[in-house]
Symmetry: C2
Subunit: 608 residues, 2 copies
């Protein structure tokens, strides 16, 4: 039943050889990997204005130069990641680039930040999208957490089904959002150019403003650059692209950069010309849409696609997290279960754990994750800085033909990313300090895991030089609970192994039981020695392990192997198990963890 | 660490032979087994007045004849249960009495109702006590659920420590409560008799009242009889008494009956003479205490002991539930785990499950369990009726010397109990209908469990006539994941068993792995046959079970036994397990449930 539910939700299993069919075309990849970056348009420009409004509406013209700064940063990042795609066609991303050029620890810092960041992406994006929906339908207020969790579960199932199928579903909202904003920007610009918008609404560019400071402008710039979260997703996901993967990925990246630049500039220009002031209850995009179209169908279309793309932005996390986890698991820094592909060839464990962690985060913050946004942005810019510094080192070391322009691009990118990171730490320390604690802990855990895998590897490696002594005999211990067909079946098996000795052990709680069993046993199995142990404290395990220790000690001296053969009846139906004490299972678990004896279970299947 | 926490909470384990020392004296038994019955005084009289107030304060004099009716019912119940104690000195209770005189199903109905009822006792009493506390300390309002759960956990731990130790702690509040009410009633009566209370406050007995009806009076009587819940506890717990157990239990029961009668009459008389009207926010006992002492220390002393005894009333459930469970488990109607005694000789499983179920109930009803009280009363009166009808049948059948008075006592008891039950169903059907659904389900489950145990018993019984054929040979299958010391160790063990055949099986996901391993294997273990299976769907289990089926089929024809020997390394620390996929455990579980093969696990303990 569970199996058929699973089939229904995620589809039939796919053969390993079907992997190629699951690859992404450019159009689908753009939809699946850029929803995070594109959705940032919905809040990036607003973040700039929120900082500037502390001075006054006269300062709004600064949003234009600041947006130009963000666009320069965007170009630097896009160009830099384009270079990474070709340099690391197996899926680069900050972890691989930092690790191979800067060393293990910078790589782990980048990888650890990103792992956490993808969880934040899912939690923050889904919560923001849910907010947009519950703002539109106030009756749903109070169910934010439940709705957000349903969306996370929905995205998790989609991703377990596989990337292509997710892409088909996810492509429409992304393209509809782009279409909606294009119409908005087109109509808005037309109205501005034809004089449909009063030029008195905004202060001309260059007007001197009292109280403006470099600190404030930098802060506005840093806030605005939160619109760039998500641009690294494509470079992580190159293996998901159709061949030739790097070329397709690079083209998709450029396309995403162009779309992002157009949408960002458009929104900033419209907001400036309309003289829009950020307000708590209505978003900037919503104000622009209302100013352009009034509360028409077009307005609701823009709002709806914005809400949708915010939820789908979470999907970027689902594409990137499992692949990053694979890279970390290959290097043995995280558990190896992240390496195995599920029925539909996705890295199911990564997908499930991401979904689970996001739900926990949503529950912990009750879907009110606004104050996680700066943390989330820092979590992106730290790996940005590291990966671009890594690329600088790479170009400088390898010096391939025409390396200088590439070096310069990455240097600019690294410098701006570092500046943004520093500005975040300086201006919003109270919201981002926790990353200084979490990332070192994560890196420490990575190292511990790696160390354990190496220890295990060394212990499992065959030392061909030393030949171990063969076993010279067998002693079999059979714990029995009475004279039953299950015990009979087990003794038959034990005798079939023709061991040197079979000892049946009975643990008695009452003296009378002891005697009764001993008498019956003599008649029933005269050739098998029965040892009865008395338990004062009504525990079976303690007297048994004590006895086994004694036997094992003697056997070890004679180089005999001790096997504990446990009779176990298997009820016909699962629920029957709660009706039986099943001491067998407990005995087996405890013995295996502590003693050096082989545990055999002889099943006896009940037929009704 | 878990072990030492357990030691700290519940104390050192006790030997089975120490059981006698844990028995109860009469004084402790009275405290431990009557808190439920005595605490009912805190709400029983109030329930009568709440019904009468619907007619008007003039009808309050009816509380006196109604209370007399309740006292008659109480006497009938006490006398009847006294007879049960001597007739069933091993611990009677409604289940045993109904089963042996009326048959299995009436017994199961009584047992099932009581099992559920004891859970209700705990949940309702603890919630009511918590309400009393949070009424006194309004700052704690809003934490009702948490406080109630803490009390349940506290009571569970106390009972796991053992009955004697619980009794020592619980005796004080019960006796303090009795003392407090004795002082209250004494001072109150003195004031009434000396004319300190105005006689104008109440209508004289016998005044005609407009609108009174038999239905209403019966309803008031049924409500008042909810004060009698808990009187059956002593007859269930006879084995907990010091020898001579039945005599001691009977004396304790009479003592409890006397105390309950005095307290009940006292409160009703005071309420009538003071002319007290039930109010939503202040209990009747609280009003009486305030009218007698004002808001003095004495008032708070009465309130505090009332709150305490309500919480301790839950303890009756802890005494009775595990013993009833033992009786049901001995008859194989519930899982046999309820038969085993814990470290401190209490029936720990019953205690833990009772605690757990009560917490679930408290969480489900958020500690607002008031509307469960009628259900709880019906759950008591159904077994009351059944057990007394059972006693009637017993006397009539056996006709021992002087049986007639006994028969009459039980007949009166059975009749009144039946009437109360019917009145509950007629007047409060909307609150008690669910018992008509739950009890049949419980009885059905009891029968299913009994049937299963009988089936298993038949299958486990040795049929001496047929001698089974001995096993003629052994085939060993070793699933391997590579060439490691763990596999080497396992193969050494397998060879030590000198089987007819050893087959190593490797499940490959990639063709290259397959070839590489085959080549290495030939050099490493040339004498062990290696079979490689290819898995298209990246599952180890499916190809493996298919292969084992084939081998088993062949082996079965030759009367050979198949043993699957699983190499398993045991990491040094528990947390390491999450770093390994441990397919071994999954293979073992699945094979054991479905196939008729012996599963051996050869542990290889890692040293770091």
């Amino acid at each position: 039943m569970i199996l058929s539910l699973k089939r229904f939700l995620i589809g039939r299993p796919l053969k390993t050889t079907e992997a190629g069919e699951q690859k992404l075309t450019k159009a689908k990849a753009l939809a699946i990997l850029s929803s995070d970056a594109l959705s940032s348009v919905a809040y990036g420009p607003e973040q700039i204005l929120i900082v500037l409004v502390t001075i006054g509406a006269a300062a709004f013209w600064y949003s234009i130069p600041i947006a130009i700064g963000v666009l320069i940063l965007l170009s630097a990042l896009i160009l830099s990641y384009r270079q990474i795609i070709f340099a690391y066609p197996q899926g680069g991303g900050a972890y691989v680039v930092s690790k191979s050029n800067l060393g293990i620890n910078p790589g782990l810092i980048a990888g650890g930040s990103l792992l956490v960041d993808y969880i934040l992406t899912v939690a923050v994006s889904v919560s923001a999208g849910t907010d947009a929906i519950t703002s539109a339908f106030p009756a749903l207020h109070g169910f934010n957490v439940q709705i957000a969790i349903v969306f996370v579960i929905f995205l998790t199932i989609l991703n377990l089904r596989g990337v292509t199928e997710s892409a088909s579903v996810l492509a429409y909202p992304v393209y509809l959002f782009v279409l909606a904003l294009f119409i908005l920007i087109g109509v808005g610009l037309y109205r501005i150019l034809t004089g449909g918008v009063s030029p008195e609404l905004h202060t001309p560019i260059g007007t001197p403003v009292a109280g403006i400071s470099l600190f404030l402008l930098l802060r506005a710039f840093a806030s605005g650059s939160s619109a760039l979260t998500g641009v690294e997703a494509i470079s992580n996901a190159i293996p998901n692209f159709k061949d030739p993967a790097p070329n397709n990925a690079a083209k998709t990246l450029m396309m995403m950069g162009a779309l992002l630049a157009i949408l960002l500039s458009g929104i900033v220009i419209l907001a400036y010309n309309y003289g829009i002031t950020p307000r708590a209850e209505v978003t900037v995009v919503s104000q622009i849409a209302e100013a352009t179209f009034g509360r028409s169908y077009m307005y609701f279309f823009i709002q709806a696609t914005t809400a949708l793309i915010l939820i789908l932005a979470a999907n970027t996390g689902y594409s990137a997290f499992p692949l990053l986890a694979v890279n970390l698991a290959k290097d043995k820094f995280i558990p190896r279960m992240f390496l195995s592909r599920g029925d539909r060839l996705g890295y199911s464990n990564g997908i499930i754990i991401l979904g689970f962690a996001s739900i926990l985060l949503i529950l912990a913050f009750l879907a009110e994750t606004e104050h996680l946004i700066p943390l989330y942005a820092v979590g992106v810019f730290v790996p940005f800085t590291l990966s671009q510094t890594g690329m600088m080192v790479k170009w400088y070391r390898e010096k391939p033909e025409g390396w200088l322009p590439k070096f310069i691009i990455n240097t600019i990118g690294a410098f701006i990313s570092l500046m943004v990171t520093l500005i975040f730490f300086i201006t919003k320390f109270s919201q981002v300090w926790s990353i200084l604690i979490f990332v070192p802990i994560i890196v420490f855990v990575f190292h511990r895991i790696r160390k354990h895998y190496e220890d295990v590897g060394n212990q499992l490696r065959i030392q061909t030089c030393e030949a171990s002594m063969p076993i010279e005999g067998n002693v079999i211990i059979v714990p029995v609970a009475g004279i039953t067909t299950v015990v009979e079946n087990t003794l038959k098996y034990a005798k079939g192994l023709s061991p040197d000795q079979i000892i049946a052990v009975y643990v008695a709680f009452e003296r009378e039981d002891e005697k009764k069993l001993e008498e019956k046993w003599k008649k029933w199995q005269p050739d098998v020695r029965l040892v009865t142990l008395h338990s004062h404290y009504r525990s079976i395990i303690k007297p048994l392990t004590k006895f086994i220790d004694t036997v094992e000690h003697k056997a070890g001296e004679a180089n005999h192997q001790v096997t504990v053969v446990i009779p176990q009846f298997i009820p016909k139906k699962g629920w029957h198990n709660i009706l039986h004490n099943q001491s067998g299972i407990m005995i087996r678990t405890l013995l295996m963890l502590r003693r050096n004896v082989v545990i055999s279970t002889v099943p006896y299947h009940l037929i009704k």
